[in-house]
């Protein structure tokens, strides 16, 4: 072998192709999802089960307790509650999906394939963006299923086409932000088990906000937390878009939260991915 061959490829060969590599990684992640469908089913199943529980088991009582003018103008009771709870269940679909993101990231990290990627001349971020895009597609699929089921069990949105499009865009923004957070949580986990537990607070937060009951029914301390935590403006925005309730400044607050979470999650993820293994 000659010296010339050893001194390496032309600089042009050293260019990075982040878009092309991300697309490759996305294909890999979609294939993995298809090979491992039980995870997707579990992730869609959870919000559906919660939806059925809250509408059919708790809905009658909770709906009666909503009082006042019922959002969506349903017939009170169960029907009113279906309208009230749907945005929270929609958000729960997103949090379940990002829980899946953390799990698949952690699965990747515990397997040797990531080590291989690290020694290859590829755009590093594509390993993560592949997961982000894959999860985004999975979330869109899950949201379609869950919203479909919600419509079947009595959710009656009043949104027109414009409001639906705004809802879709808003949900993508929320999902995108939470996915990046989850990518970091998946990397920070030492095992797949930890990764499935770490995003748990995300699943619980809609309960500690305006997702399932109005915040003014809560005790003072909890109420304060519920009103200021990020999921409340997100839920209120969804509720407003879908059932014609006034949104107020919730949309801006929600989008600001999304920007902060997305940026923080992205920077944290990037730092975690570039850190060296300790051994």
């Amino acid at each position: 072998m000659s010296t010339r061959a050893l001194t390496g490829p032309a600089p042009a060969g050293l260019r990075f192709h982040p878009l092309r590599d991300s697309a490759t990684m996305l294909r890999r992640n979609l294939k993995r999802m298809l090979r491992y469908p039980s995870m997707t089913v579990t992730l869609v199943g959870m919000p559906v089960v919660f939806l059925l529980l809250f509408v059919y088991v708790l809905g009658g009582t909770l709906g009666a307790g909503l009082g006042g003018p019922v959002p969506g103008g349903g017939a009170g009771g169960r029907a009113a509650y279906a309208n009230y709870v749907a945005p929270a269940i929609i958000l729960m679909t997103v949090t379940a999906t990002v829980q899946g993101t953390a799990i698949s990231i952690a699965m990747d990290m515990t397997e040797g394939i990531i080590t291989r990627f690290r020694t290859m001349h590829i755009a590093r971020v594509s390993v993560l963006t592949g997961h982000v895009l894959g999860s985004l597609i999975q979330a869109v699929f899950s949201l379609a299923v869950v919203i479909g089921v919600a419509l079947l069990v009595g959710f009656r949105p009043t949104a027109g086409l414009g409001a639906w499009l705004a809802t879709a865009g808003f949900l993508v923004a929320v999902t995108f932000a939470l996915i990046w957070l989850s990518v970091a949580l998946g990397q920070v986990s030492k095992s797949v088990e930890t990764a499935s537990n770490l995003p748990m607070p995300l699943v619980l937060l809609p309960f500690l906000g305006s997702g399932f009951v109005p915040t003014d029914s809560m005790p003072a301390g909890l109420r304060w937390f519920a009103e200021y935590q990020p999921f409340t403006p997100i839920i209120e925005t969804l509720r407003g878009l879908l059932t014609d309730k006034p949104i107020g400044n919730n949309a801006w607050i929600a989008l600001a939260w999304c920007a902060v979470i997305a940026l923080g999650g992205y920077l944290w993820s990037k730092r975690l991915f570039n850190r060296e293994s300790s051994h």
Partner: protein, 319 residues
């Protein structure tokens, strides 16, 4: 030797690495010529994997200069990555994808054209005896198949320097021999192989040069033969046609040990030409007829144990 004049495929000087207060590499120097197999031999925990991780850009060294494929490791890690391939101890395959999909994934990441990627994947599956298993998920593969797929994935990008970190650990003897053949074929194609192993036999079979790593330092380096010659315990075996010859030689050589059944003598010797000349000269002077003469050097096991010290008195304190 023309090979000495070419630029080394891997050159490292004064490589140091500590994890906390545990010193793993303590001033490592390496020089690997292109197109050769260089074997880093050492017990578990000697620092082999750490060395591979540093040389393959996975972790950075605390100190030292490294050039891999002509590129500075610290300043041009991307250029190094473009030139190397790594197959580590733990299989780096995607278990949910099939063997073929794993190879195509690599082809895509190397930005090969679709046709070229498919061609290369098919050829590698054939070459590594995985054609039949190519459509099955890697999770169903045996240890040997997985290791072959792992190496095949490394080869998709036609790397010029390949790091093999204990490539045959945990493989059955047949798979091990297959792997050895694969390595020989690669080197024949001009690739440089940096191989770590704890099997002396493996280094003996494959390596052009061997460095013995102990406590983060190279304690000896050379060809397998050179290393063996450094260790006392070699001998010359003489076989005679009849007991008279044996008796006569025994009288002349004195300190030899005899094997009456085989009509053979075992004479201590360092195996050097000079000592052989002397020996043959003495036998010649008395016209003693020797049927067969063979020189036995110690095997690498002897070398390894002599160089790295007995494992029972291994230093327990880190420094």
């Amino acid at each position: 030797m023309t090979i000495k004049q070419s630029r080394p495929a891997i050159a490292a000087t004064g490589l140091r690495k500590s994890f906390g207060d545990q010193v793993v590499l303590d001033g490592l120097d390496l020089n690997v010529q292109p197109g050769t197999v260089f074997s880093l031999l050492g017990a578990n925990g000697a620092g082999k994997t750490t060395t591979v991780k540093i040389l393959s850009t996975l972790i950075s060294a605390d100190a030292g200069d490294v050039q891999v494929a002509g590129h500075d490791l610290a300043r041009e890690p991307d250029a190094v990555r473009a030139a190397i391939g790594v197959t580590g101890q733990f299989s780096a395959v995607d278990n949910l994808l099939t063997g073929e999909e794993n190879l195509l994934l690599m082809a895509d990441l190397h930005h090969l054209a679709r046709d070229e990627g498919r061609r290369r994947a098919t050829r590698l599956l054939e070459q590594f005896d995985l054609t039949e298993a190519g459509g099955k998920p890697a999770s169903t593969y045996s240890g040997g198949m997985r290791r072959r797929l792992d190496l095949a994935m490394t080869l998709v990008g036609s790397p010029r320097v390949i790091f093999l970190d204990e490539p045959t650990t945990g493989l059955d003897p047949r798979s091990r021999r297959n792997m050895w053949q694969i390595v020989r074929d690669l080197v024949a194609g001009g690739v440089t192989i940096f191989l770590t192993t704890q099997y002396l036999e493996e280094a003996d079979e494959l390596a052009d040069r061997i460095a013995v790593l102990d406590h983060g330092r190279v304690v000896a380096e050379g060809t397998a033969e050179e290393l063996k010659r450094r260790i006392p315990g070699g001998h010359v075996r003489l076989r005679f046609a009849d007991p008279q010859g044996l008796d006569a030689a025994m009288r002349v050589l004195g300190q030899a040990s005899r094997d009456n059944d085989a009509l053979a003598l075992r004479v201590p010797s360092d195996g050097s030409l000079r000592s052989l000349k002397t020996l043959i000269g003495r036998l010649d002077d008395l016209a003693i007829e020797v049927d067969e003469l063979s020189v036995h050097t110690p095997d690498l096991d002897d070398v390894f144990l002599a160089l790295t010290g007995d494992s029972t008195n291994e230093k327990v304190t880190p420094r």
